[in-house]
Structures are given as C-alpha cells and as structure tokens.
C-alpha cells in the first residue's frame, strides 16, 4: 500500500510545484514548463487511481484519459511556444512582467 501512497503524494507534489512555478516565475518558458509539470502530476495521480486493491484488475478508463490528456497538453505547449516567439518578436524580452506592460502603454490600440 505504501507505494500507492508514495505515487499519490508525488503526483500531488508535482502539481504543487507546477502551480507555484506557473504563478511565481516571471519568464514565459518557465511558466510553460511549470504547466507541463502540473499536468504530468495529474496524469500520475490518475494512473495510480487505475490500480484496484488486488493487483490483477486494472481499470482501462484512466489510461484512455491520460492518453488524451497528454495529447492535449502537447498541443497546448506547442501553441504556447509559438505565442512566446510572437511575444519575443514584439517585446524583445520574453518577460510578462508588469513593467513590461507599462512600456507598452503608449502604443496600445485595438
């Protein structure tokens, strides 16, 4: 039983680290990495959930969900990276800090 608990706990830890990274870090790439960490944490928890008490009976549904989840997070990361390049192109620094915003103030129009 302790391994099940260990896996769950590590999944939770991954989620927490990812959450902290996403919120606190200021560099865009760090945020994207943190997001991936969070989703992998969740996948770990889901997979662990698939194993019933007696090792024999494995529930296939979480596996299907995790597969779809991985697909989704890949495509999200792809879009995120493209956006980082676009932001980089216009603001020549991939930071999403508030002071970055203040410099933009002058040229914002719809």
């Amino acid at each position: 039983m302790s391994t099940i608990f260990l896996y769950n706990f590590s999944g939770l830890a991954l989620f927490a680290i990812g959450l902290h990274g996403l919120i606190r870090s200021s560099h865009l790439l760090r945020k994207i990495l943190a997001a991936n960490l969070m989703s992998s944490g969740i996948f770990l928890i889901m997979i662990v959930g698939a194993y019933g008490p007696d090792q024999a009976l494995i529930d296939p549904v979480p596996h299907a969900m995790v597969l779809t989840g991985i697909l989704v997070s890949i495509s999200t990361t792809a879009v995120a990276l493209v956006l980082v390049c676009l932001v980089q192109e216009t603001t020549n620094r991939a930071l999403l800090l508030q002071k970055r915003k203040r410099e933009q103030r002058g040229r914002t129009d719809a």
């Binding site: 919120i23 606190r24 508030q98 915003k101």
Partner: protein
C-alpha cells in the same frame, strides 16, 4: 313700468344682449378691419341694458344650461335698480369719453377694456347664479385694470399693480366663499335657492372682505384713492359710480333673507360702515388732488351703505326694505359721484382759467348738495329711506346711528366743498370746439341726479311727511353747518393744505410698500435666496464630479488585480473558501 310677459327666448335674447352687445363691439374693436365702425358704436353699447332695465319684467329668472356649468340670467327688483343706474352711468361715461379721449392715440385700447368692464358689470347684475356672478365679477375686475393703467405713467402702473394684487386676493376669497355657499346649499347655485348660514364666521368674513375690497371696506380700500386720480375721467367716473357698487350688490345677493338674525354681524357691519365713513372724510381732507378727495368721499359713502346693510342684518324681517333703501341710495350716490367726476373732466377741458364759470359751479354744487342730503333733492329721499331702517334697529344702535347720521351728512358736505374748491382750470390750450358731447353727457347726468329718485316708482315718497318742518330742518342744518365750517377752514388754513398731501394717497398702501421692500431686502434673500439667480434644486448626479474623485483609486485597484502573484493568491483563496463552505454547509 312693469314689462308685459314676453316669450322666454326673447327674454333670454334681451337680457343676454345686456352683457353681450358690449362684448361684440369690443371684439369688433380688436379686428382692425371693422375697428372704425365699432368705435362709432361704442357710446351706444349700454343701450340694450338700459332698455332691459326699463322695460324688462320685474322678476324673471331664465335657465341657460349649456353656458359655463349651467347659469341663470334674470332681473329682480334690486337688480333692476342697479342695472338702470349702472347702464345710465356707462352710457353717459361712454358719450363723455368719446369726446374726452378723441385726441388720445390709444383710445381703441381704452374703449376695448371699457367695453369689457361694462359687459362684466352688466353680466354680474343680471346673473342670478353664483357661478355666473363670479364669472362676470372677475371679468369686470380684471378688465378694469386696463382702464386704470391707460396713461401708462409710473403712478398708474403702481396703482394698477396694487389694484390687481388686491383684486386677485378678493377673487380668491370670493372663490372660497362661493365654495362654502354652494356646499351649504347642497350644490344649488341659484341665488334664490342658496342658504348662507350666518353662524359660519369664516364664510361671513370671506364675504365681507371678498366684496369689501371692491366696496372700499376699511383695511382693503387702499387701491381706490390711488386708482381714481390716474385713471382717465370717464374711467374714474365709472369706477366709483358702478364698479364699487358691485361689492355692495355681492353682499345683498350672498346674504339672502333667511330668518336667523345675526346680531354680531349686524353690529360688525355697522361699526365697519361708520369707521369707513369717518376715516374717509378725515383722510380726504388732508388730500390736495380733487379726484383723490372724491375717491375718499366714495369710501365714506360706501361706509354709510355698509351701515344700512348692517341694520338689515340686525332686523331680518325688514331685509327686503333694507335692500331697496340701499339700492336707491347706491343709485343716487353712483349718479351723483359720476357727475362730480365728469364735472372735474369738463373743468379740465372747458374752463379756460380765471373765475369758475357759473354753469360749472352749479353743475358741481347740485350733486354735492344732493349727496349731503339737502331737502328737496333726491339725496334727501335716499337718506329718508335710510332713516326708516335706522328707526327699526334695536336700541343701543338706534341711538348711536340717529346721532351719527347727520354728522355724516355734515362731514360729507365738508369733504365735497374741499374737493370742489380744489378743482383747477385746464392748463394747456382748451379744445373749445368739439366738447359738445361732453357737455351734453354731463348735463344729462345732472338731470338724472336731480330727478331720479323723484320719478322712481318704488322710492319711499310720502309728500306730506316729507314737507313737514322737522324733516326740512333735519335735512338743512347739516348741509348748512358743513358749508360754513368748510369756508372757515379754507379762509384760515389758506396755503397749508395746498402743496402736498399730509398722508400719501392710499394711506394703507405704505404698509404694502414696506412689505415689498422686505421681500427684496435681506429677509427675502434669506427665504428665497438671491432673486433672479437660477434657483438650482439638487443638481443631478454629474458623472464628472463624483467619479473623477475616486477614479485614481479604482484604476490602481485594477492594476493590482492584474499581477500574477495576486491572481495566484486569489485562486487559492477561492479554492479554500469553497472547500470551507462545503464542509460548513
């Protein structure tokens, strides 16, 4: 002269022609196209009313349902008397005015208002219903303003403003009185059917002051001495001759002869009457302008009539006789005062300076003596009618009245002498030629003054009693004594009273001026704030003001919410809050 029974439609036509005909001519005056034709007929406007008063049947009332919430027109005994002398006076004034104002460029406007006032006057005499009476009473009062301010000078405007103010207050008091009367008589508006309960002090007060303003009752008489000097002569003749009598008629109409004696109100009227009589004379003597003096004499004469009405209230069963006596006295006073005013006008136009021509002094002295009640004049007859009422009233007032009445006659003589002596010759070049209309009108009026009460069917005329020595002496000594005292006063007091009136005309109006000053002065500012400034109630919520103040804080709030750290914190806070509420629930 009781008219024979005439078809109702014809009666309605005849009676409605009274007020109707002047209206038609007035409208004709307004339309420039037929202005000239209308002007030529102005003088004959009162003719139908005069004919109606002479030939109309003595007591008929005709219902006209569609006109203004249902109104009645009719001619009763006192109505006939009032209608006769009013229409006669308007006729004389009209003829006189046409010549008097021939040169005046605003004469169309003057005669427009002249005709409106005339129609109002006739209407209120003819109407037998409360509403009709009030309608024509208001028409007459408001139209008279046009007569007063005709010359447009500063004092004319001021007199007009005061007159209008008092008239509006009078209208409002009458409005309330009429409401109460109609409610008391169960929604009935015909004079014959209304019941005014004498016990209702509010109603009686409203009636006394409502009509008192018009009839020159003491505290509210201020407009009379101010209006007469500024108004052109024909206008002031009609003003004092016919207009103020409307107040008297109002009292008679609104206090029908129900049985409950009202001792308090009888005394109130008598006291008010005598007060007005003597007050008028005392103030009149201090004046320097002839027309003002005549105005004050009108006030005092109206005081006398108020006394008679008071008498009638004290002795309700003699009410019919009282109304007759008062109406006759009113008729005589109207015509006499009218001729005096016209006399002043004639003097101004025809007297070219030097000694007063003989015909002018005769024309002036005849009505004056008649007013003072000299025997063998119609004035004496009118006064005799009054004495019969005085005899009937209960003891305390009988003695007082019989003592004061001769004194009044003396005072009147005194005042009239003073007035006549103040009449001045024409200053500018007198237009001698076309004054004939004026002279004719004046003369006709004088004849009427002399003869009217002799010929009038109903007047209390027993020759035998009239010619007794006592009656002759009673009539003679007040007039004679009055003339002697006046001569003495003129001889010794020469020059003192000539220049400036000790008390400004319209004495009580000084209070009004003080009040007006107050409103403009600091109390007014206090109450109304700066006058003329745009009085701004609570200004609507202007977006600029309150939003501008808190805008920077709001913008900063939004900035804080944008930071990721804050977002993360809020994010966790929401999760924890939800879990907490799930548990607690």
């Amino acid at each position: 002269m009781t008219g024979q029974q005439v078809l109702p439609e014809l009666q309605v036509l005849l009676l409605s022609l009274g007020p109707g005909f002047p209206l038609v001519i007035a409208l004709g005056l307004m339309v420039p196209a037929c202005r000239r034709l209308a002007f030529s007929m102005v003088a004959w406007a009162p003719l139908p009313a005069l004919l109606a008063s002479l030939y109309g049947p003595s007591a008929i009332a005709v219902e006209v349902p569609w006109f203004f919430m249902g109104s009645l027109i009719g001619l009763d005994r006192i109505g006939q008397i009032f209608l006769f002398f009013t229409s006669f006076l308007w006729l004389v004034a009209g003829i006189f005015g046409r010549d008097y104002l021939a040169a005046d460029e605003k004469k169309y406007r003057f005669f427009g208002y002249f005709l409106f006032t005339m129609s109002g006057n006739f209407g209120l005499i003819l109407s037998q219903g409360v509403l009709g009476f009030y309608l024509f009473f208001s028409l007459m009062s408001f139209a008279a303003y046009g007569l007063i301010v005709h010359h447009g000078t500063g004092e004319a405007m001021r007199a007009g403003r005061i007159y209008l103010g008092l008239t509006v207050i009078g209208e409002v008091l009458l409005f309330m009185a009429m409401l109460i009367v109609t409610r008391d008589s169960g929604g009935e508006i015909a004079f014959s059917a209304i019941k005014t309960s004498r016990a209702d002090t509010l109603l009686m007060l409203l009636l006394f002051f409502g009509f008192g303003i018009k009839a020159g009752a003491l505290p509210l008489h201020g407009w009379l001495p101010l209006a007469h000097p500024v108004a052109p002569v024909p206008a002031s003749a009609v003003l004092s001759g016919a207009l103020i009598k409307a107040g008297l008629l109002g009292w008679l109409r609104f206090m029908p002869p129900d049985q409950a004696a009202a001792p308090f109100w009888g005394e109130f009227f008598i006291v008010a009457g005598f007060a007005a009589a003597f007050y008028g004379v005392v103030i009149g003597l201090t004046q320097v302008d002839a027309k003002t003096v005549l105005a004050y004499s009108s006030i005092s004469q109206m005081g006398l009539m108020t006394v008679i009405v008071g008498g009638g209230l004290l002795v309700p069963d003699r009410w019919a006789q009282t109304t007759l006596a008062v109406s006759l006295y009113a008729m005589h006073h109207g015509l006499a005062k009218g001729s005096l005013f016209l006399g002043v006008g004639v003097a101004k136009k025809k007297w070219t300076g030097g000694k007063k021509p003989w015909w002018l002094s005769v024309g002036l002295w005849l009505p004056a003596l008649s007013l003072a009640g000299l025997p063998l004049t119609s004035g004496a007859i009118a006064k005799y009618g009054m004495k019969e009422i005085v005899v009937a009233i209960p003891e305390p007032w009988h003695g007082l009245a019989s003592f004061l009445l001769p004194l009044c006659a003396l005072a009147t003589m005194l005042l009239l002498y003073h007035g006549i002596s103040l009449i001045r010759p024409a200053t500018g070049r007198p237009e001698a030629e076309q004054g004939q209309g004026m002279l004719f009108a004046w003369a006709a009026n004088l004849v009427a003054v002399a003869a009217v009460l002799w010929l009038w069917p109903g007047s209390p005329m027993e020759y035998d009693h009239f010619l007794t020595a006592a009656a002759l002496w009673n009539g003679l000594w007040p007039a004679g004594l009055g003339v002697l005292v006046a001569m003495a006063r003129r001889h010794y007091g020469r020059g003192v009273y000539e220049k400036k009136a000790l008390i400004p005309a319209g004495d009580v109006m000084m209070v009004g001026q003080w009040l007006e000053g107050m409103v403009q002065g600091w109390p007014g500012q206090l109450v109304f704030g700066k006058s003329g400034k745009d009085f701004r109630p609570a200004a609507g919520p202007d977006r600029e003001t309150w939003l501008r103040r808190i805008e920077p804080r709001l913008k900063k709030g939004e900035k804080i919410l944008q930071r990721w750290a804050v977002v993360g914190a809020i994010f966790l806070a929401v999760i924890i809050a939800l879990v907490y509420y799930f548990y607690r629930g």
